[in-house]
Symmetry: C2
Subunit: 474 residues, 2 copies
């Protein structure tokens, strides 16, 4: 039998880690808080990268690479930024056998080093907009870590753009959060809510931050991507100006935006079950596994031949198929193994299938079986994959919607927070009321859903300025 997974309802946290380790997606490393992304996990990241990178390039962005190390003095140039990030930094004090004259921080994010370069590269309106993205590793010292979701080192992309006009920067920030939303919904089958962060929760150094928030199966929120309108904060800190068309010198407007390997954690938590990983077909690195089944020795050769022919044909048609003809394991063991690994479709071929020139296709998520004649297998794989992709999204969307409720009763909110879900409430905008959620319910405002002035704050009863989503979160 394949390795055991703790039941999701028994211990959600343990269930998650069991899937990550048994599906060989990631492993703990000897350095506290850092993870090793194993080939099965990295293959998911490669697909995420490939698709997002295409979306970035289609919208005019180009990739570049900036240094890992940032001088301490750079971090200090933007007041909010250093306050937010310096405490979580890893610090290099020695290099080449000597103590350094100035400490270097391993980047927790790259605004400061990038804007120091932009001050060199931007001089005229002709240099704008500057639309650059970087795929990189970053480090943020974390006390409590969890594979993929919160680790000291993680992989991500960070876009950093410079614009001539405030309005253009705002458009860019919205464009990128929309790209993240589209990517999550279309490829990860992950429905999200989009909105602004409160001032307390926004990026350190931003004017405002857009976020997309997804709901995991334990009904907690997970921040899946953020996009920041940085205003002129970093342009001011690094003196980045340009001559406009009228020869006037002006400060540049900025955005930054990022998603990380955390998306793999979101993907796992959103769709998987007690049998292991479930991956939406569009993001899976293997499309299907072919498993030959025979009991009598006389069936062996014909089942293997039939299976192997199908495998070759699918390969020719660009299907990423795996063919498992290993002798030492029984079909049942293999079924469990590939379910654990999250291969979207299983193709079963036994003596009866060979005789009738057909196969049985089994969906990973709901085990729905489809019998299909040999000449239609390729078509059927595409159809079933598409349906599976759509239904995974719909299932997750139903889950999110049926666990989102509106309330104006503070006691009811407190009582219900334990069981999870998104709560739509009214909030006056005061930090003291925002802190109340954290202090009393271990919950935070995930995003501002809309302006609202006709109702009252659920905490203090003052006139409400916003409708917000409150939830516990990862």
């Amino acid at each position: 039998m394949a390795k055991m997974i703790t039941g999701m309802n028994e211990d959600y946290s343990k269930w998650y880690i069991d899937i990550v380790t048994n599906a060989e997606l990631a492993d703990y490393s000897p350095v506290k808080g850092c993870m090793v992304i194993r080939p099965n996990g990295y293959a998911l990241w490669e697909n995420i990268q490939r698709i997002l990178d295409g979306m970035f390039k289609e919208t005019g962005h180009r990739n570049a690479y900036f240094p890992l190390l940032i001088p301490e003095s750079f971090m200090r140039r933007e007041a909010e930024h250093v306050e937010g990030f310096a405490p979580e930094c890893a610090v290099v004090t020695h290099g080449g056998g000597k103590k350094l004259e100035e400490n270097l921080y391993i980047r927790p994010t790259s605004e400061t080093i990038i804007w120091s370069m932009y001050s060199k590269w931007i001089n005229s309106y002709r240099d704008l907009p500057l639309l650059i993205n970087q795929w990189a590793n970053v480090l943020r010292w974390e006390m409590r870590t969890r594979l993929f979701l919160r680790t000291t080192e993680f992989l991500w992309q960070e876009g950093h753009t410079a614009h001539a006009e405030a309005g253009e920067a705002e458009e860019e920030a919205v464009r990128m959060i929309d790209i993240y939303r589209e990517f999550c919904e279309k490829y990860l089958a992950l429905p999200v809510l989009k909105g602004k962060k409160t001032d307390k929760e926004k990026f350190a150094g931003a004017v405002h931050t857009y976020t997309i928030e997804a709901m995991m199966q334990d009904r907690k929120a997970l921040q899946a991507g953020t996009s920041h309108n940085l205003g002129q904060n970093f342009a001011r800190a690094f003196n980045v100006t340009f001559l406009d068309r009228n020869g006037e010198r002006k400060l540049v407007w900025a955005t930054s935006w990022g998603v990380s390997t955390r998306l793999i954690g979101a993907l796992i938590m959103a769709h998987s079950d007690d049998n292991g990983l479930v991956v939406p077909p569009k993001i899976a690195h293997i499309d299907c596994v072919i498993i030959p089944i025979w009991k009598k020795e006389e069936d062996r050769v014909k089942v293997l031949e039939f299976s192997s022919n199908l495998y070759s044909e699918l390969k020719n048609r660009k299907v990423n198929a795996v063919y498992d003809d290993a002798d030492q394991y029984k079909p049942g063991w293999k079924f469990a193994q590939y379910e654990m690994l999250g291969v979207p479709l299983r193709i079963e071929i036994g003596p009866r299938e060979v005789e009738q020139e057909k196969v049985v296709i089994v969906r990973r998520d709901n085990r729905e079986k489809t019998a299909c004649s040999l000449d239609r297998v390729h078509e059927a794989i595409l159809e079933i994959s598409e349906r599976m992709q759509r239904e995974l999204y719909e299932k997750a969307k139903n889950m999110m919607e049926s666990n989102t409720s509106e309330t104006d009763n503070l006691q009811g909110l407190e009582n219900n927070m334990e069981k999870g879900g998104f709560f739509k409430i009214n909030w006056c905008g005061k930090k003291s009321c925002e802190d109340y959620f954290q202090d009393r319910m271990k919950a935070t405002i995930r995003l501002i859903d809309s302006e609202c002035t006709t109702r009252r704050c659920i905490v203090c009863g003052d006139p409400s300025s916003h409708t917000v989503i409150v939830s516990r979160s990862y």
Copy 2:
């Protein structure tokens, strides 16, 4: 006019840096020794990555990601390894606002952290071979740096494989150096010599190291890639054993191999000229630039229309074309600009071309012009690109061969070293004789070309054990 480039014969070093900065391939960063790879340079790296990654996967390797930080104690487990690398490491002593219990090194290479994981993952012969590659940044503190060629931080890939048999590891080490050679010759149009390093020059921790060495236009050698047979050194240091088919516990055999962003430096130095960058078509991220040319206003519309139609058609046929119809620059300025940037082909379209329904295609490297009718443009681009790719390789190969000489005269070798080139000589194998080249000629043994026992060492006159290539190098 485009920015000026120092002549190659005037000051080779300055010529190189002028190309890197004026073609906006890379820039100096505020952190000493670290570079910023700008979008034009990173696009070359993306193409290198894409092609090599495909070659690695075709030979059964999978990608993974291991932590950036390595505990100091891990580095110390392999004696030669720590001696070779520890002095060049950047050291993290503080994290999350506190002094760390154990110093962490930023990886200069990842053997130690990876083999600590392999000890967890490898247990049986069924787990072997384990064929993993990582794309990552690494840091080696350098005193004298040069953009792309030698920087404190650089990007690279590092393959790390584990095998049941010594012979398999040796085969793998050879397979990978051959992949590097194929890649350099086929895509970078860079001829290389392949051979073993001497013990002095091999990787710290390897049994032996294979290298490929290319000749730059100043006739110095550049090490373009290395592949190491690590024997059981790291398996022993990290106690990585497996049960073989007979139930016997044995130490694992290992290889590692890597190429880096240094290849971009090699590419630039091998083909470029006093007009700027020259990039072989197979590695260029832009295939051609279309430049419309008119003097009289009445020609303007028809030239632009013709050019724009061609641009659309080429785009449809998946040609990465750029169409530069900007008004503010003259065609001559644009010619110089795109020559600087290294775009392989220029398509000139003037009133005469429009009338005759043809175009003129100009090669970047030798400015050879080909007139071509409109209906044959796509075909011609493919043909000329292929010819240019082949001829760049042949030119570089001729250069290397005509600057490689055999000698058994030590004084002659010393006299000729200044003007550069590869010198094939006989060497007894003693380190003192090897040091002589360094001390007296600032040259090193780049590789062992072959065994040789019938001749005598050029330095000491003892019987020779090897024919080697001696050269100055980057």
